[in-house]
C-alpha cells in the first residue's frame, strides 16, 4: 500500500496561498525495508581524486530550510554514502562519473553524497540516475557540494528514472570566495520527481549558475525548488530553467533569489522559459526575489509560450514537415542549457531523451 512517507518536502521559502498548491509537495510510495545498495556507480578510479565510501569526518552544518525535510529522510533511509575530494590546486582532466542504476536487485537507493572541491581545484562531476521500469524502484538522494576558495566545479545531475518510479533529490551547494560553481539539473524521467537545490554564495565574489532543463510528458509530475542565497559581497548567481510540457504533465517551478543583508554588489537573475505543447498540461511557477540588502541587482522573468508560428512557417518553407519543425523549435528552446553540458556524448544523450519525448508527443 502506498504511504506518504516523506511528508511535506520542497517547501517554498516564503509560503503563499495554500489554494495555489505550490507551497510544498509530497511523495506517495510503497516502501519496503531499506536494504543496502549493492550497485557499483563508480566504475573506475580517477587519478588524483580521493573517493571514500563514508561521510566526511567534520560535522555538517544545518541544511538550508528548503532542503531540510529531504535531508532528514535521506539520512534516515541512507543506504549509500560517498565522499569525493578534489585536492587543493588539482585540475581533473576528465569528469568523474557516477551511474546509479536501480533494478530488481537494487530497487531502493537513498544516497548521501559529499563533494569537496578544495581551494584552487577544478573538476566536473556527473551523476546519472536510471532505473529499470520492470521493477518497483525509488530514489531519494542528497548531494552536498563544497566549493572552496578560488576553485571551479561543474555538477551535472541527470535524472532519467523510468516513468513508473518516484524520485526525490536535493543538492546543497556552498561557494566560497572567488570560487565558481555551475550546477545543471536535467529532469527527464520519473512518474513524479521532486528536485531541490540551494546554492549559498558565502564568500565575496563567489559565482554560481544553476541551470535546470526538463521535459515532462504523459501523466508525469515534476516539482522543482531552486534557490540562490547571496551572502558575500559582489557575488553573482543566476537561475535559468528551460523546459517543455506535453500531454497531461504537471510542473511546478519554485525559484528564489535571496539577497542577505551584507551582500552588497550582488547580482542575480532568475528566468524560466516554458514551452507548453499541450493545453492539458499544468504549469505553475513561483519566482521569489527576497532582498535584505539594498545595494543589489536582482531580476526575474518567466515566459510561457507555445510554438512560434512564424518560426514554424519558416522551417516548413524549407521543406521540413510540421512535426519535425515543431520538434526542432522545441529542442532549440533547450539550447542555452544544453550547451553547458559536457562531455558531448552526455549532451547527446540528454538531447536524444528530449527528442524521444518530443517524437512521442501527440
Amino acid at each position: 500500500m502506498e504511504k506518504n512517507i516523506l511528508g511535506k518536502i520542497n517547501r517554498l521559502q516564503i509560503p503563499t496561498w495554500n489554494a495555489l498548491k505550490i507551497n510544498d509537495t509530497s511523495v506517495m510510495i510503497a516502501l519496503e525495508e531499506m536494504s543496502a545498495y549493492t550497485g557499483n556507480p563508480l566504475q573506475k578510479e580517477y587519478a588524483g581524486i580521493r573517493i571514500r565510501k563514508e561521510a566526511p569526518a567534520e560535522l555538517r552544518g544545518s541544511a538550508p530550510a528548503i532542503l531540510g525535510d529531504t535531508l532528514g529522510y535521506v539520512q534516515r533511509l541512507c543506504n549509500y554514502k560517498l565522499h569525493i575530494t578534489i585536492p587543493e590546486g588539482f585540475t581533473a582532466k576528465e569528469p568523474v562519473i557516477l551511474n546509479f542504476y536501480l533494478d530488481r536487485d537494487n530497487a531502493l537507493l537513498s544516497d548521501e553524497l559529499f563533494i569537496s572541491a578544495e581551494a584552487g581545484s577544478s573538476a566536473s562531476i556527473i551523476l546519472r540516475y536510471m532505473s529499470d521500469g520492470d521493477s518497483d524502484c525509488f530514489h531519494c538522494g542528497y548531494t552536498t557540494l563544497d566549493v572552496k576558495a578560488d576553485s571551479s566545479i561543474r555538477l551535472i545531475k541527470l535524472q532519467m528514472l523510468a516513468e513508473n518510479h518516484m524520485g526525490v533529490d536535493a543538492t546543497e551547494v556552498n561557494v566560497e570566495a572567488g570560487a565558481n560553481a555551475s550546477v545543471v539539473l536535467a529532469e527527464l524521467g520519473a512518474k513524479k520527481s521532486v528536485s531541490g537545490c540551494s546554492v549559498q554564495l558565502a564568500g565575496n565574489s563567489a559565482d554560481a549558475d544553476l541551470d535546470g532543463v526538463y521535459i515532462v510528458n504523459h501523466e508525469r509530475e515534476l516539482d522543482m525548488n531552486y534557490r540562490i542565497e547571496y551572502r558575500g559581497e559582489n557575488t553573482q548567481g543566476n537561475i535559468s530553467l528551460r523546459g517543455a510540457l506535453l500531454d497531461n504533465a504537471r510542473k511546478t517551478a519554485k525559484s528564489t533569489l535571496d539577497f542577505i543583508s551584507g551582500a552588497a554588489g550582488a547580482k542575480g537573475r532568475e528566468e524560466e522559459s516554458v514551452l507548453a505543447l499541450s493545453p492539458e498540461a499544468v504549469n505553475l511557477s513561483a519566482p521569489l526575489l527576497l532582498c535584505g540588502e539594498d545595494n543589489v541587482d536582482g531580476q526575474h522573468a518567466t515566459t510561457t509560450g507555445k510554438i512560434d508560428e512564424e518560426k514554424l512557417f519558416y522551417l516548413m518553407s524549407r521543406g521540413i514537415d510540421e512535426k519535425e519543425a515543431r520538434k526542432l523549435i522545441a529542442l532549440a528552446s533547450f539550447s542555452s542549457v544544453l550547451e553547458k553540458i559536457e562531455p558531448e556524448n552526455l549532451r547527446e544523450e540528454i538531447t536524444a531523451s528530449i527528442q524521444e519525448a518530443l517524437n512521442n508527443a501527440d
Binding site: 508560428e309 522551417l315 521543406g319 514537415d321 519543425a325 529542442l331 539550447s335
Partner: protein, 250 residues
C-alpha cells in the same frame, strides 16, 4: 511552371489580393513591383502557403498540380522557395545542420556530411560569407545583411524550381546588394524560375528580367518587359497607373 488564376486572399478581415493572374514559365525571371501596402509580400506568402493568409478565390497551380490548399512543406518539396524579409532566428540549430535537414527534406536523399560541408563552404565563399557562420545558430546574432545572405545561401543549397525573393535587397548596402545579386545570377538557369518582389531596383541591375508586373491594391495593373523598370524609376508608380489613386508614393 506557376499559374495563378483569379487569386483573392485575405488576412483576418482585410482583403489584400483582389483577383490576381500570373503565369511564370521555366527559365523566366519575373519582377513584381509596387508601392508599400500593395500586397506584394502577401502574394509571396500566399504562394508559399502561410497559414495566416486565407485564399478566398482562385487557384495556384505549380508544375501542373493545384497546390492552393497544400501545406507549406509540401510546396517546398515540390520546388517552391521564398526568401524572407525578416528571417527567423532559431537557437540551437546551426546553419549547416539546418540546411542539411532542409536538403534531406526536399530531396529525400541522404548525403555524406563531408560532401555537403564542402559544397556549403563553396557556396558561402561565393556569397562572401565567412565560413564560421556555418557553425553558428540560425540567424542568431546575424546582421540584417548576413540574414539576407543566409537566405540566398539556402536558395543556392536547396536548388528550388521557383525562388521567390521577397524584398531581399532591402536594408542592404551597395556591396551586399551586388553580392546577393551575383548569388541570384548563379542560381538562375533555363530550368528554374525567379519571382523577385521589390520596390527598389538596385538588385535588378545585374539580372536579366523577362517580365515586370506592377501590383497596386491587390491587383496587377500593368504588365511589361524590363523597360517597365526604367519607367518606374523615372515616373514612379502613380504615373503608370492613372486609373488608380496611390497615396503616399512619390
Amino acid at each position: 511552371m506557376l499559374t495563378i488564376s483569379g487569386l483573392k486572399a485575405r488576412v483576418g478581415d482585410s482583403d489584400i489580393l483582389k483577383g490576381l493572374d500570373l503565369t511564370i514559365n521555366a527559365g523566366e525571371t519575373h519582377v513584381i513591383m509596387g508601392p508599400n501596402g500593395a500586397g506584394k509580400s502577401t502574394l509571396a506568402n500566399v504562394i508559399m502557403g502561410h497559414p495566416d493568409y486565407v485564399v478566398t478565390h482562385g487557384s495556384i497551380v505549380f508544375d501542373g498540380e493545384d497546390i492552393t490548399d497544400a501545406k507549406t512543406d509540401e510546396r517546398a518539396k515540390k520546388g517552391l522557395f521564398m526568401t524572407f524579409q525578416n528571417p527567423e532566428e532559431v537557437a540551437g540549430i546551426t546553419v549547416e545542420s539546418f540546411l542539411r535537414t532542409a536538403r534531406f527534406a526536399v530531396t529525400g536523399k541522404s548525403e555524406r556530411a563531408w560532401d555537403f560541408h564542402k559544397e556549403l563552404l563553396t557556396l558561402m565563399e561565393r556569397l562572401d560569407f565567412d565560413e564560421s557562420y556555418a557553425a553558428r545558430h540560425l540567424n542568431i546574432g546575424f546582421s540584417g545583411g548576413e540574414k539576407k545572405k543566409n537566405e540566398i545561401l539556402q536558395m543556392l543549397a536547396l536548388h528550388p524550381r521557383l525562388a521567390i525573393l521577397d524584398e531581399t535587397d532591402s536594408g542592404l548596402d551597395v556591396d551586399a546588394v551586388k553580392t546577393v545579386s551575383e548569388g541570384v545570377r548563379g542560381y538562375k538557369n533555363e530550368k528554374n524560375a525567379l519571382l523577385i518582389i521589390t520596390h527598389s531596383t538596385k538588385i535588378l541591375e545585374n539580372i536579366k528580367v523577362d517580365a515586370v508586373h506592377i501590383l497596386v491594391d491587390g491587383q496587377i495593373v500593368k504588365n511589361g518587359g524590363a523597360s517597365l523598370i526604367d519607367e518606374v524609376n523615372h515616373s514612379g508608380f502613380t504615373a503608370l497607373t492613372p486609373s488608380k489613386s496611390i497615396e503616399g508614393v512619390s
